[in-house]
């Protein structure tokens, strides 16, 4: 009996040790490039979400049907683990033939190390380049050459609970002072004005960037990215940082916003416990499972009357793109896939399924997009002078990290706006 219980304890301890050591070594197994013949290895991050899976299955199935001679090997992962997985594969020189990639800084690292195929010649054929929205190409173009084809475009704007607004008689604001007045009203009604779940750090970036765009102007981060020595967030960065801190200090954000996930914040929003959220166009999809009676409304980010920036600009950027490895054995097949996934047919299907805007001209049709997205495209994006891409994807990875933790510090009050502005400016200058 005693011996047995000692054994049991030892076994349990052993099992526990195994679990305790579940530590940092994440990195998935790098896939080997396909054998002989026409094998095409395609990596993508469309896993884990029903609509994404549905889209990629459609794209791959139709591709296989159109090219029966090409054997496709598909490797998929969920977005956050995918980034690590691709990075690991690239580092070990096992890049897949075709791969999904974030645009901007993430892709640039691979381009700089010479692992990504230049697409310029191919894009010049049959007007392929011209089939993309002009504003979507800079984030996949480095040093004058394009290295990936953009898929979808996300735009950030303010979403609100229409039923709740109607019931309480709240008016949609157009200027920043109006927005603050409204937030105060909402707060005194016992509702959280802004659903912000900033555990993953990116949700807060929209506030800082929009405030910066309105007060200083668009294109700052693109300037840093291009190595422009005069690029700066300007003296307005302090005020932009102040906008975020004001929201936090006035109690317009949820309690413990920094510890709340984006999904948790969305639960508050969909259940009427929070009235507004500044989020990407994917909020349409995220609102699909709202309780009955919920109606999603939207308005452009409020204007800053004295701001130097163009007050109609929209924070929007390419969310995902596809690229071909320099080492791809069968480049023809790889390029054929890129052409296929950006074809009007596949892209319209994408809009139908995901209700977000695509980079292919003419594919975001009102029929496919549905009334909400069609409205956003027409009323907000269509009226924009410039689409300013998301700072955090344009930044070098390390700069992004500083940017993220600085904004968390603004929310919890541990960093004053002036220090935050300096930290972000210096990190952007240091980032390549």
């Amino acid at each position: 009996m005693r011996i047995r219980s000692a054994w049991r304890a030892a076994l349990a301890a052993g099992a526990a040790l195994v679990m305790l050591s579940a530590c940092a070594g994440a990195g998935g197994s790098a896939g080997t490039s396909g054998g002989g013949g026409k094998t095409l290895e395609i990596w993508h991050a469309y896993a884990g979400q029903k609509d994404k899976v549905e889209f990629i299955e459609y794209a791959l199935d139709t591709f296989k049907k159109a090219h029966p001679d090409i054997k496709v090997k598909e490797v998929s992962a969920e977005q956050s683990s995918y980034k690590t997985k691709l990075q690991t594969a690239m580092a070990s020189g096992n890049a897949p033939d075709v791969f999904y990639t974030l645009p901007g800084g993430y892709l640039k690292a691979f381009v700089d190390s010479g692992q990504v195929l230049r697409l310029d010649d191919e894009l010049a054929k049959q007007g392929w380049r011209d089939s993309f929205l002009e504003s979507s190409l800079p984030s996949v173009t480095f040093g004058g050459s394009t290295y990936a084809v953009p898929i979808d475009i996300d735009a950030a704007l303010v979403w609100y609970n229409k039923a709740l607004f109607d019931a309480k008689g709240w008016q949609v604001p157009t200027t920043w002072p109006e927005f603050l007045d409204l937030a105060e009203k909402i707060k005194s009604a016992g509702v959280v004005p802004v659903a912000l779940g900033n555990k993953d750090s990116w949700p807060a970036t929209f506030w800082f960037q929009y405030a910066e765009m309105r007060m200083h102007g668009s294109g700052v981060m693109s300037g840093f990215g291009a190595g422009d020595k005069n690029a700066t967030f300007g003296p307005e960065a302090k005020d932009a940082a102040g906008v975020l801190q004001t929201l936090a200090q006035k109690g317009y954000l949820p309690k413990g916003a920094n510890g709340m996930s984006d999904a948790e914040a969305n639960i508050l929003f969909l259940n009427g416990k929070a009235a507004m959220v500044l989020n990407g166009t994917w909020q349409i999809g995220m609102s699909a499972e709202a309780p009955a009676g919920f109606e999603l409304g939207y308005f452009p980010f409020p204007t800053f009357v004295q701001g130097r920036g163009n007050q109609s600009d929209v924070l929007a950027g390419v969310a995902a793109s596809f690229a071909v490895s320099q080492k791809a054995k069968d480049k023809e097949a790889a390029l054929a896939f890129l052409r296929h996934i950006t074809s009007p047919e596949v892209m319209t299907k994408y809009v139908q399924i995901r209700k977000t805007m695509v980079a292919r001209k003419g594919a975001t049709t009102p029929e496919a997009a549905g009334p909400l997205l069609a409205g956003v495209v027409q009323d907000v994006i269509g009226k924009a002078d410039t689409l300013d891409p998301f700072y955090d994807t344009a930044m070098a990875p390390k700069t992004t990290e500083t940017y993220y933790s600085t904004l968390q510090g603004l929310i919890d009050g541990s960093i004053p706006p002036a220090a935050a502005a300096d930290a972000i400016e210096n990190a952007a200058k240091a980032g390549k």
């Binding site: 219980s5 000692a6 301890a13 309690k255 413990g256 510890g259 416990k273 990290e401 933790s405 600085t406």
Partner: protein
């Protein structure tokens, strides 16, 4: 004659021993020694994981010395270790004693309850506790509001002042069961006659615990303390799931910071430096703890 046969026999035995050891040695070499050495070499480089690496000498180590986030995360690791010694080893010992000596009838059932969190994956535990701590629909604030302590309700994981304590509570509650299990087994192996003798001498539970039970299982105390300290220094998943090391690095431990540096910032060189220092620190602390306890034992004897 006999010497030569013996030496031949010894040589044969040695060859057999080598053969039997080979798989383990190869395994260790491939999966422990090689990565360790690589990390050691990398720690003197600057490398983004993709482009060619650059030798930077001691630059990474200099940076580490001045890295506020690293020292903050190390401080958090030390907090984890200290609370683990008190609330996992210490409290675990007391509860195990209580189960074995005071309420043996409910021992099995109680142990089952204590061990449940140990066998559930840390990711699930973290997600569940995330919902307990949720400021709006979480159990904790719900409870506080229900009993009229509304002022205490807050965003536990998002508030700088409460985030780390909240993480520590989860860690200690999760692994308490493991130590109870280990000490129940240890206490059961203590000869009953010793307890009888203590009882005859008029020792109560307090006296029996400190003067009989603990000294009798001192080697287990050593081993478990070491286990607690070492696992505290490499803890990762619970922190990652609960807070991602935030807000603003307030709950980062060395492992989460290492992960962030290597796989978030793509600074493989600096991440290796952190990892290498982490291994050295863990080993040093382990040796220190063992030495301390050996002296404690001699002092007690």
């Amino acid at each position: 004659m006999s010497t030569s046969t013996r030496s031949r026999a010894v040589r044969r035995d040695a060859r057999a021993a080598l053969l039997f050891l080979a798989p383990a040695v190869l395994f260790l070499a491939a999966f422990v020694a090689y990565p360790l050495l690589t990390a050691g070499v990398l720690s003197f480089h600057s490398w983004d994981g993709v482009s060619p690496r650059q030798w930077t000498g001691l630059a990474n180590y200099e940076r580490l010395l001045g890295d506020r986030i690293f020292w903050g995360s190390l401080r958090n690791n030390i907090l984890v270790a200290l609370t683990a010694i008190v609330f996992q080893v210490g409290v675990g010992m007391v509860i195990a004693y209580w189960l074995v000596r005071v309420v043996p009838r409910i021992k099995r059932f109680a142990m089952f309850l204590y061990v449940v969190p140990v066998v559930i994956s840390e990711i699930c535990i973290g997600l569940l506790w995330g919902f307990v701590y949720n400021p709006y629909f979480g159990l904790l604030n719900g409870f506080l509001n229900a009993v009229g302590l509304d002022e205490l309700a807050r965003g536990w994981l998002g508030d700088r002042s409460t985030a780390m304590p909240a993480v520590l509570v989860v860690m200690n509650l999760t692994y308490l069961g493991l130590y109870i299990l280990l000490f129940v087994a240890a206490f059961e192996n203590v000869d009953k006659a010793v307890y009888d003798a203590a009882a005859i001498d008029g020792a109560g539970h307090y006296r029996t615990f400190f003067s009989v039970s603990v000294p009798m299982v001192w080697s287990n105390v050593q081993a478990t303390t070491l286990l607690a300290v070492v696992s505290s220094f490499k803890t990762f998943s619970l922190v990652y799931v609960l807070t991602r090391g935030g807000p603003n690095n307030a709950t980062d431990v060395v492992s989460t910071y290492l992960f962030q540096t290597g796989f978030g910032n793509f600074e493989a060189g600096y991440a290796s430096t952190i990892g290498f220092v982490q291994i050295l620190l863990t080993a040093a602390v382990g040796v220190f703890v063992l030495g301390l306890m050996r002296r404690g034992k001699r002092g007690a004897a």
